[in-house]
């Protein structure tokens, strides 16, 4: 099974890296860009197990380690 995990900054958290990327996009001529937020994408390969159980386990992985709840939100997709 493959868990595709997306870790994103909570709204309102300072994101200077996103800002820097936005400025670079503008410098490249993409004037229509109104904002950029930088997040993380992780691929976690798991031994096969019942889907419900896998969801709970990946959720726990996110809460315990993959995302810092103070500043980050997470969501994930499970693929067989």
């Amino acid at each position: 099974m493959l868990a595709k995990v997306y870790v994103t900054l909570k709204p309102g958290v300072l994101d200077p890296a996103g800002k820097a990327i936005e400025h670079s996009l503008h410098a490249l001529g993409f004037a229509e860009v109104e904002g950029v937020r930088l997040g993380k994408y992780l691929e976690v390969r798991l031994e096969g197990q019942a889907r419900k159980a896998a969801e709970q386990r990946v959720d726990e992985m996110c809460r315990k380690l993959l995302a810092n709840g103070v500043i980050e939100d997470y969501r994930f997709e499970l693929h067989e």
């Binding site: 958290v13 300072l14 200077p16 890296a17 380690l65 993959l66 810092n68 103070v70 500043i71």
Partner: protein
């Protein structure tokens, strides 16, 4: 008293902390390997600066799960003294032993420079040797030192005197210009409610000898020795040996 300085894979300033404590202050200090759950009866644990686990995922995110941290957490919960410097502060926040988190500097650059900090709480085991409001010059060297927490947490910290050190200008004023990394409320160092866990981004261990530029940092270590001598260990004495 005895000090223990933890070494994680990637810790850099562990030896500098040991030098400041053992060599300059003359207080016995031992190295604590991150895989060893035994704290060897130390009275104060130091989590040093550096790049533990390469700052992978998030600064301190992996170090907080090192075996030694289970013992450090128990030790802290029982009232033991824990000092987190720079990466150590990041580890303490990731471990939930201090609230909030340290994120990328507002200006995105890694900053290696001396800054002014004001002692906003001199009634902690780590700052009792300073005068209230005293302005210190300490170096910072970090890329992720911007302290953030939600509004409720920040208000809580302020109300309970948990902001121990704050970035200020040379005359002691809190300003945006004096803030090197964007930390909310210009927070440079905080302690927990019980005052036994202290985390700071600046490096006191590098400012312990006048010959090398200044000794403003030495009194953080002196404070701990004084607090320990004054009998703070009554809380720790109740923890089982070999914790």
């Amino acid at each position: 008293m005895r000090w223990g300085v933890v070494t994680f894979p990637g810790s850099l300033d562990d030896h500098d902390a040991l030098y400041a404590i053992d060599h300059v202050l003359g207080s016995p200090a031992v190295s604590l390997w991150h895989k060893d759950r035994d704290l060897h009866g130390v009275d104060c644990v130091v989590l040093p600066g550096g790049f533990s686990y390469g700052d992978y995922l998030r600064c301190g995110a992996l170090a907080r799960f090192s075996p030694v941290m289970d013992s450090v957490a128990s030790f802290a919960r029982a009232g033991g003294l824990v000092l987190g410097i720079c990466n150590g502060f990041q580890v303490l926040c990731e471990a939930g032993l201090l609230p909030g988190v340290l994120i990328r500097n507002r200006g995105l650059s890694f900053i290696c420079a001396p800054v002014h900090v004001r002692v906003d709480n001199s009634s902690t085991p780590f700052t009792n040797a300073y005068k209230p409001g005293e302005i210190l010059t300490l170096p910072i060297k970090h890329g992720e030192g911007c302290y953030v927490a939600d509004e409720v947490t920040l208000r809580d910290l302020e109300e309970h005197g948990q902001v121990v050190l704050r970035y200020v200008d040379a005359s002691g004023r809190v300003s945006e210009a004096a803030n090197p990394n964007g930390s909310l409320h210009n927070v440079a160092g905080i302690c927990n409610r019980a005052r036994n866990v202290f985390g700071l981004m600046p490096h006191p261990e590098y400012v312990v000898e006048k010959l090398l530029g200044g000794d403003d940092g030495l009194r953080i270590f002196r404070s701990v020795v004084a607090a320990n001598a004054a009998g703070r260990t009554e809380a720790v004495a109740s923890v089982a040996p070999g914790h």
